[in-house]
């Protein structure tokens, strides 16, 4: 492994100063579950590692104006178990519960997961349909970025190299609406998804009032299935309507062949699991 200087500052301002000072040559380390593997495999070779484990005050989960405010250093295990998250956004608690194993969730953080931006991760589809946003902080100040503008490409975000994710903001899930997160795992339970689908939906007066769908693992970033949402809004929730609308995801996904499935299989399964998610959240069978 490449040599690096390890910094363990005990305040956010010291972190920001280090990132500014070593801009482009410093990497943040939160839980380290992705970063340590990248270092070991020499896929990255920064001269400076700035660890966040001594930075206080960035791991709380609060509600403000109907919006969840989640510190960037909150562990994924705490997201899964938090009664506040379960109450205001049960979909989000479920998405984090499906990440890897307890051993990984115990240390992996919310901010680290967002910055890693692996399209096969579990939280992104739910973050997209909940309309989450990310607070990115640097010595230049703070900016709030909608999550849909954070994910840029495979493992790439629009975060600058001197920025740190200090907060995740998530509007509360509409109470009473149906919701689901389906993680399709043809291999083992602890694997990354072959296809994943998050959905929220409700029916009022016999027609579809709210419908939101996003998919993970089948494109360079998680993708919102707006075509499906637009086709269904205001329609009667019939099995035929859901089946027809689901077909449209075949054109918006862009999967690759890998050990979790071939591209054509993932495209077919995207359609199948979108339909099943729609059936579940709209109560159609």
């Amino acid at each position: 492994m490449h040599d690096f200087t390890f910094h363990a500052p005990d305040s956010l301002s010291a972190v920001l100063d280090l990132l500014a000072e070593h801009d482009g040559d410093a990497k943040l380390l939160a839980g380290g579950t992705s970063l340590t593997t990248l270092l070991k495999q020499s896929l990255i070779a920064p001269d400076h590692i700035v660890s966040l484990h001594r930075v206080p005050g960035l791991d709380s989960i609060e509600v403000s104006n109907g919006e969840l405010r989640i510190g960037g250093l909150t562990t994924q295990r705490d997201m899964e178990r938090s009664s506040v998250v379960k109450e205001h956004a049960p979909l989000l608690a479920e998405a984090y519960r499906r990440v890897a194993t307890v051993r990984i969730r115990n240390v992996a953080t919310v901010g680290g997961g967002i910055a890693q931006a692996d399209p096969a991760m579990d939280p992104p589809p739910s973050l997209l349909i909940l309309g989450a946003s990310v607070v990115a902080t640097s010595t230049r100040g703070e900016r709030v970025i909608p999550i849909s503008e954070v994910y840029a490409d495979y493992y790439e975000t629009t975060l600058e190299s001197d920025e740190i994710v200090t907060e995740l903001r998530v509007p509360a899930q509409p109470s009473g609406a149906g919701w689901t997160y389906i993680k399709y795992l043809p291999r083992t339970e602890d694997d990354y998804a072959t296809v994943s689908v998050a959905a929220i939906g409700s029916v009022e007066g016999g027609s579809i009032a709210d419908i939101r769908v996003a998919l993970g693992a089948v494109a360079p970033t998680a993708v919102r299935a707006s075509v499906v949402e637009e086709a269904l809004a205001g329609q009667a929730p019939t099995l035929d309507a859901l089946r027809e609308a689901s077909q449209a995801v075949a054109d918006i996904v862009d999967p690759t062949d890998d050990p979790r499935g071939s591209a054509w299989y993932k495209r077919d399964m995207s359609v199948v699991f979108t339909r099943r998610a729609l059936e579940q959240v709209l109560g159609v069978s």
Partner: protein, 159 residues
């Protein structure tokens, strides 16, 4: 703030004993535990966080020591398999693994015991489904898993 090029001092408490060592910053925690501290009970198999062989308890939560940097653990309180028994008295989970055939070759066993012990501390009477969900991150090439589940159920009943 700590800034040390290349080598850095790490002080950890492992199984109640404090250790201080100077190590390269890239040293993984599993290598630190095995080679710098000589506690070879903790095993490394996959090296990428998947198999669970290197499971230890880090500040009260199980973690994969193969994907943790030793310098990141500076100041931490760690329990390894060597710290599970009370002198010559085995932990109920260890007793159960012996009595119910929870291991064969033993390569995965320290990690299985650390994970199972943490499960029972978190949930003293887990259902079979809860055991499977918690333990799915600990792979075993020998037992076929059924005896591991039986061992954990027996340990839960023995408590």
């Amino acid at each position: 703030m700590t800034t040390t090029p290349v080598r850095q001092t790490v002080t950890v408490t492992v199984n109640g004993q404090e250790y201080t060592r100077e190590v390269p910053t890239y040293r993984t925690l599993v290598d630190f535990i095995r080679y710098d501290l000589g506690l070879t009970g903790t095993k490394e198999a996959c090296s990428v966080g998947v198999c669970g062989a290197c499971t230890i308890e880090l500040d009260g939560r199980i973690a994969a020591s193969c994907i943790t940097l030793a310098v990141r653990a500076d100041g931490a309180n760690i329990t390894t398999i060597e710290g599970v028994a009370d002198g010559d008295t085995l932990h109920p989970v260890q007793e159960a693994f012996i009595n119910y055939g929870g291991f064969q070759c033993g390569a995965c066993t320290p990690g299985q015991i650390m994970a199972a012990k943490a499960l029972l501390e978190h949930n003293s009477s887990p259902s079979e489904a809860e055991i499977k969900e918690w333990m799915m991150g600990n792979l075993c090439r020998c037992t076929g898993y059924y005896q591991i589940i039986e061992s954990i159920q027996a340990a839960a009943e023995a408590k």
